[in-house]
Point group: C2
Chain length 193, copies 2
DNA sequence: TCCACTAGATAGAACGTTCATTCTAGTGCA
DNA sequence: TGCACTAGAATGAACGTTCTATCTAGTGGA
């Protein structure tokens, strides 16, 4: 997930992610990051200009990683239905493989602590735009109901997020069949009646 | 929303909600709450034992208020479809009327800062249990697909949450027709094919 | 091969600020 | 007078950040 960084940066980012999920931003002190990552505060400030920068870098890296992974599924050759399924499968797959990353993005995508500019860049490099395009195509072909494609994508993403949240809280499991069914539910709701 | 509290408590809770949405928990200092609510720190500590208690009280009050409002729609006499529509309409209505409350609950329902006990009590007094019951009934009657009703409720709630988030971020509007359509999409995805 | 020098990396103490909370003094109603 | 309440200064801990000293690896002249 943090392959583009050096050893120290990687250790700091990984540690920060673990702590922030476990304890929140306000309890994630530089002293604690230093202690748990086994990097002194001096070194941390050698590689990062501030705590804010660490958090924003974390956000950027995770979104970039997930964005690429989902797009690989979404942009394969296939019917709209196939690409719909591949795309959402990958959205869920990232959250299953890196639950901390998923939780972090979920919590901080609406936080003033993440710079607007970072959010904007993340959105543009992410999977939202191609997914919106897929939905717009489906509507143009008369396959999906007529509505704002961006809004329907958001609604479906919300369904996925809450399914994963249920799973992460231990209130449900997340089997292949369950994922397929959830995607099917979204599909069935979206198509023209 | 805070009718059960006295004037000072009400001012503190309302102010805290405004600040925490605008600036995050870590930037919501007691000094700032005191200044903006025009209540001295001494008085605040006369009515609340700590900052944590203020935040947890805020959480409790909002969930209780919303829970009651939604249940009023959900528990009216009517068909499953009607009650489904009334229930979700009210979920969206609370978030439209008190967007700060909605955002706060959204952000903090997964936060370690809110006591487990408070979350538990909130869940029990909220609208989730009756909504789960409605879905279970719908499945028993063969109206909805067979699946874990709690999970489907969560998925639908996720759709609503993300629709409202889109609206609050200015990326879409939230008209009566749009709300009806969103609820219809959920319904169509849920029923037996 | 050796040594002097340099640049970057690292550690952790020190700094100044801000924070949640407590304390003290005061107010006004019963 | 007694008591609930209020104001705001005081307190001490914790924080993000900076500073200073030390370490490490690499370079190049002799």
């Amino acid at each position: 997930m943090f392959e583009q960084y050096n050893k120290v940066q990687k250790a700091v980012l990984e540690t920060t992610l673990q702590i922030i999920i476990r304890k929140e931003l306000q309890a994630t002190s530089m002293a604690l990051i230093a202690k748990e990552s086994k990097v002194s505060t001096g070194s941390i400030y050698h590689y990062f200009s501030s705590k804010e920068e660490i958090i924003n870098e974390l956000y950027t890296a995770i979104v970039a990683y997930n964005g690429q992974f989902v797009q690989e599924g979404l942009n394969r050759e296939g019917t709209i239905r196939e690409r719909f399924i591949w795309g959402w499968e990958r959205v869920i797959e990232t959250s299953r493989q890196y639950p901390e990353g998923f939780q972090f993005i979920e919590q901080y995508s609406f936080s003033p602590y993440i710079y607007e500019e970072v959010k904007q860049k993340a959105y543009n490099g992410g999977w939202c735009a191609p997914m919106n395009k897929l939905y717009a195509d489906a509507m143009e072909q008369g396959l999906f109901r007529e509505m704002d494609p961006k809004l329907l994508v958001q609604m479906h993403y919300g369904s996925m997020v809450y399914m994963v949240k249920s799973y992460l809280q231990g209130n449900s499991d997340l089997t292949e069949a369950g994922i397929r069914q959830a995607i099917e539910i979204c599909w069935q709701g979206a198509i023209r009646g």
